[in-house]
Amino acid sequence: MAWKKYIPVFALIACIIVFQLAVTAMSREFYLTQLTMAAYYSLVILGLTVLMGYAGQISMGHAAFFAMGGYTSAVITTRDLMNVKGAVLVDLARDLGLTIVEKNAYGSDIEHLSPWAALAVAVVLTVIIAFLIGIPILKLKGHYLAMATLGFGIIVYRIVLGSRLFGEADGISDIPPFRIVGGLAVSGDPALRVQNFYIASFLVVVGVVLLMNLIDSRVGRALRSIHGSEEAANAMGIDTARYKLFIFVLSAVFACVAGVFLTHFNGGIGPSEADVMKSVSYVAIVAVGGMANLWGALIMGVILNYLSLRGYFGSYDEFVFGSILIVIMLFVPEGLLRMENARALARALARLRNNLGADRKQ
């Protein structure tokens, strides 16, 4: 029965709808803002879960890909083309209908490239960079892979922080909304909260379904075999280098798309999105979710990001993610949300009940 494996997906969709209706009924729609952001971050985490949990390749630089998406879109859509005449590329973009004329905050008209074009450019750019960097990086293992990806992340962070084009420490603001079709738009406008929540949820659902099918496919089996033993996988005739590269690029694209959408939702992006600590917190959430566990990663991703964004951790935010890493690795390296843990708990409870029962009989 093919549809049976989609039961969790339907449950997810039902949860999303019920949550939205409940929040609206209680007129607490402002909860949706952070939840939308958490959903976009979860998209990064989903991609990373497949890379880390299934293929067994750590990446401590995924915030770089997120920033790549966000910054590319920010740079492209904030450039005013109103007074640019005669440039071949700009005219071509106009002819193709890729530019949008809008009023800015001061009431004057500005013309900028459509976010759709920006999304396409961002994805292509990310694919190229992830591909080029992935070829040498994925030859490394263990500590070396961790350090190399970390190093890549730091370089991107430094470039973003150091160049005028990306607004240095201020980042880029006043990013126009991403109009998808008709009235649907990704923007931080409070009136559009509900539809933005659904746009983000839609992307998450699509991402989950895509990755679920990927994991159950030939590619997924190949990835798991790489995680088990790369040598054995090689010996079985699996082109391990190709599969690792494919999944690295795919997870980079997930991060990039999340970056593009969240940047338009927030209306701005700053260098903190490329910070190493962001990458580490993504890794932390994948670890809590149970490494090779899409649903665990999704649930923990939404919950932890939501709590972090609502400011529940206060000034202890980084501390929380750091201690999560340690506690999970020390006590439950398989992750929190696993059937075995539930079963172990059930067994322990049953034993406790039996013991109590035995005591009573005596």
Binding site: P136, G142, R158
Partner: protein
Amino acid sequence: MSFEHLLQYVLSGITNGSIYAIVAIGFNIIYNTTGIINFAQGEFVMLGGMTAISLAAFMPLPLAILAAVVITSFAGALIDFLFIRRLKSPSVLNMIIVTVGLSIMIREIALHIWDEKVRSLPYFTGNEIASINLLGAYISPQVLWVLGVCSVIVVFLGLFFKFTLTGKSMRACASNMIAARLCGINTRNMVTISFMLSAAIGALAGCVISPITQTQYDCGTSLAIKGFTVAILGGLGNSTGAIIGGVIIGLLEAFSISVMPLAYKDAIAIAILLVILFVKPSGLLGAREAAELKEF
């Protein structure tokens, strides 16, 4: 570029390079006995500097530094007792995640103890404006302290690993953990000692560089990255290589400032790291055969 300029760049490169070399040696000590890359190595440097700064308010400077080194080495032992020993069947991935988590925790604890202000120890001799003229280039007396302490650490470690029983046992752990255990060496204690030694060296480095580079709760991360670059460049586990690698990276960085914006200085070291990892992960002085056995 005049001779004096050149000399000035070279001296600043060697100073920074020797700092990176000490951090790299700290990495090597733990790596050799455990096979772990301790991502929290830079935090030992920060912890040493910060503790000494706080203690220097109550006691003379040498005593404060000594106390800071002792306290930090106990922190290193504590980390081993509380976390590293408790890892069940540690895979490399788990080890990385734990030490990264530790580095974040130590940093955040330091932030809550000391706030985010930039502090520094007083200059050991002279003050900020004291300088020594060396063939036309000017250096601070503190630079001589840095170079001196680096040399003392290297010589001390050389003697320690060569002539003391503990040092020899630690080397035995490095070459073969199981064989060392069969010879009656308590390998667990050796791991603890390696953490203490590495923390102590990091703390000492943190104290010596504090007057020049200043100390802040998050200064450890970039030092750790540089130290790791140096350790890899010299061949992981090789202390002579660490010194050579340190000087090379230090010089490259010093000269990069003359051609590129300062904002990209950190990116240079990391770009070098990536190139080494891609081209020759065994490093300059790392043996190729030994490298093939390790997990790159």
